[in-house]
Symmetry: C2
Amino acid sequence: MRETLTLKDPETMAAWAEEQRRRGQRVALVPTMGYLHAGHLALVRRAQDEGDRVVVSIFVNPTQFGPNEDLARYPRDFDGDVTKLREAGVDVVFAPEAHAFYPQGFDSYVVPERLATGLCGASRPGHFRGVATVVLMLCHVTRADVAIFGEKDFQQLAVVRRMAQDLWLPTRIVGVPTVREPDGLAMSSRNVYLTPAARLQARALNQSLSDIAQQVQNGARDARQLENTLRQRLEATPGARVDYASIVDAQSLEPVAELNREAVAAVAVFFGSTRLIDNRRLPIPMTLS
Amino acid sequence: MRETLTLKDPETMAAWAEEQRRRGQRVALVPTMGYLHAGHLALVRRAQDEGDRVVVSIFVNPTQFGPNEDLARYPRDFDGDVTKLREAGVDVVFAPEAHAFYPQGFDSYVVPERLATGLCGASRPGHFRGVATVVLMLCHVTRADVAIFGEKDFQQLAVVRRMAQDLWLPTRIVGVPTVREPDGLAMSSRNVYLTPAARLQARALNQSLSDIAQQVQNGARDARQLENTLRQRLEATPGARVDYASIVDAQSLEPVAELNREAVAAVAVFFGSTRLIDNRRLPIPMTLS
């Protein structure tokens, strides 16, 4: 098994990455906020396929949390995370301190505009500004040739892809399908917050999305009607408070009226103060024109 | 003399830059808006000292112009510029089309905050957002190891330095002293707009800044009083309309009251619709405590 380095200083991280570049080794980055689960480990395996060296960052990024969100209580298990990443054969665990990334006088943000206005952006103002900024910082520090993101955070992936394309970032962005619990719930570090009762009810996210996808498969095309079905199903779930249930264009994230192009159904649901998200790519209908 | 390539396509530019990187050649970038003068050529010479290969970009960046500014009439002389750069031994002239850098759906801006609020930022809202965004794009496309900027655009240099530092950009930012006409006027592509009478009066920018620097050298310490002297001198210049005349901290660009640290006097003056800027670093007083 390879040795796994744990680095905290961005300068040291950058020097390691420069050395890899000089040797012609491609670096694959997996940005995480830690408290790792099987979904993260799927990202690591993909990184190992895409790069010669794998860096996993663990950074609970303060700028992507709102003032009333769960920054302080976000679950952490650094030692457990490092053990998992060592067993997975990761080359570097990069865990910067918040003040190293946001020193006094920090003044430069990457701001996504239209892509950040709807869905999670509507209830989390500034969230995607924080995400885009820290992803760019991480790609720069690690000199990443490729960066790996989960499709569960669908809007995040769209924002990051667009940012990389818009700014000509030399890092290729790769999305990996969502990993699920045996009962279908999308894996998330936040699932640990759920009460046993809420944990059972949370299956409704995946189930309702699957039902919608099946209806589209069967010929349903009216996106507004499908959204209503989705929302009603979620609202009927005991303990659930729906933040959004939307069907949007897969690239622009704009609402779609009719399902005649690549679209995604996306939902966000609160159980108590815990906010869960999930999404499903909807099958594109065959056109017979 | 080396061959000079002219590239328009960012993908081709990036491929050339990747090839240089593979060969271990350091790329030095000089971002310009064209209509080149001796100040630009001083940046090119510095780039040749700093890098193995030199790229000069010519791009009149639409996002850094306000709706009532001179984007459409900004002076252009592409063929003349290429001749000058070929004679200077530049490796690549990179001249992307506006739609290549800002395609439909473009959504990601780099936004400087406090550093962009005062001085030129106050009268040109959004200007430094455009500057920071395009500089990041150019550094990415050219894989620049180093990028060279003139000190005449003092706030721009401060914003770009801060952006590179904040976002851990792997490009080193270098500032080069302002090149002046024989009578002291800072070289600028916009000087061509001036009427003969205004061209003579425009000497007041450099002269008033030199006077202030001399007063500081002689012991003056009250920044507000020095600002007033500077403004009055400029306001007394026939045909001049003062946009600002400020003494600010050299890093934070915040106003300073007393000259007890590194400060800069900066001015912006309109002659008709032509806006000229200049600045002078003020000598740091010796402390005898």
